[in-house]
């Protein structure tokens, strides 16, 4: 069984918000954002109309990212996550690329670069299928990733394909990845610093 984490406010946050709104303080909002990657434009499918290998979330309120969830061809995408300040949350390996999404999670261990462990090549209507894919719960982020108001969290994807890796060609076929970004948003908190100019809290 999997349990989503409960919000725990820091002493600093308790100066500005409560878990639930009361007479004096605003409550914290639990929201979700989506980032989608797609290697082949599909005009008939909402959200996949164009090729996308990068995405970002930018939230006006100060927020904390506490979980990521994934759907799609998890074994066919490398994922870079980077804050606007340049902090790499999924750093590149010494001799290879960014982490493959399926290797970051529990669940189906399909990996497009593997031999036996590669996902069977099944195509339905021109789209590589997700048959047999399964995820065992979200990837929790604790401590959460703190985002100042309007700070950007960037997601960059790189599609991989076993058949073409050896000859150094880009992946072909439609590979999609949908990332759910789960956040807590803190109304009334303008920034992380009480003293820095422009980042003062109300």
């Amino acid at each position: 069984m999997f349990v989503w984490p409960a919000l725990e406010l820091t002493e600093y946050e308790k100066k500005y918000v409560r878990t639930y709104k009361d007479g004096k303080f605003p409550g914290v909002l639990r929201r979700a954002y989506e980032v989608t990657f797609n290697t082949v434009a599909d005009p008939l499918t909402p959200g996949l109309e164009s090729i996308k290998r990068s995405g970002r979330i930018q939230i006006a309120r100060r927020s904390r990212v506490f979980a990521l969830t994934f759907a799609g061809n998890l074994g066919s995408w490398r994922l870079q996550i980077e804050t606007a300040s340049g902090e790499q949350m999924t750093p590149k390996g010494i001799s290879d690329g960014y982490p493959i999404v399926s290797s970051m999670l529990a669940g189906s261990s399909w990996n497009a670069l593997a031999a036996i462990g590669a996902q069977p090549a099944v195509t339905v209507g021109g789209v590589s299928s997700f048959i047999g894919s399964y995820q065992n719960g979200p990837m929790l982020i604790d401590p959460n990733w703190e985002l100042s108001p309007n700070e950007t969290l960037m997601f960059n994807g790189e599609a991989i394909d076993n058949q073409l890796v050896d000859v150094g060609q880009p992946a072909v076929g439609q590979k999609v990845l949908s990332i759910g970004v789960h956040v807590w948003e803190f109304p009334g908190m303008d920034g992380r610093s009480e003293t820095a100019p422009g980042l003062g809290c109300k």
Binding site: I94, D96, P99, S103, G137
Partner: protein
Amino acid sequence: MSFWPRFKLTPGEERVGVSKYYEPVSGKRGVLRKVYHGQLMLNATIRNPVYNFQIARRSRVFALTASGDIQQFRIQLQDSSGEQYLAQPVSLASLLGGYVELPPPVYNVPVVDSGGFPATAPAGPQLGWVPVQGHPVTNSPLVFEPNIVLDSNQSLTMTGYPITDYNSINYRVDMCIHVWEFPAWQDGPR
């Protein structure tokens, strides 16, 4: 019950001015949860692939996840001081748990009821043996509790070993170590 551990500061970390989250008033710096990637390749010539994780900041490794040909590898984890975190090379499939089967003990011979792959038709001559049936699944990350503590720039080495004696193709496993990094501790323990 979540299988991802929640972060807790040790008394020693509190003493050196680390906080779980950045504290604007005291100026204490927070802790970063990150994912580092590595991969091992195994074939007829590379019998013991090695991958080094090295992080500039002091860090704590709390979990390991993987995907790919998990069932083909045994692994050993060792830090640069020589400490080994597995008593002997252990099969990655058994460390991660879940529906990830071990290959048959005899090359290209389907074995039933002995922990090997189900007796199905071979996928093709290039594989050399019967394929996985169903789909390989890991139940949860391999959690290290207490965590593996790495000082600044101390490396953690993962060495792979083959499950079987002969490999005709490239087996590959991609791994991630999940760490807590301490930006306030970049210069090593005080």
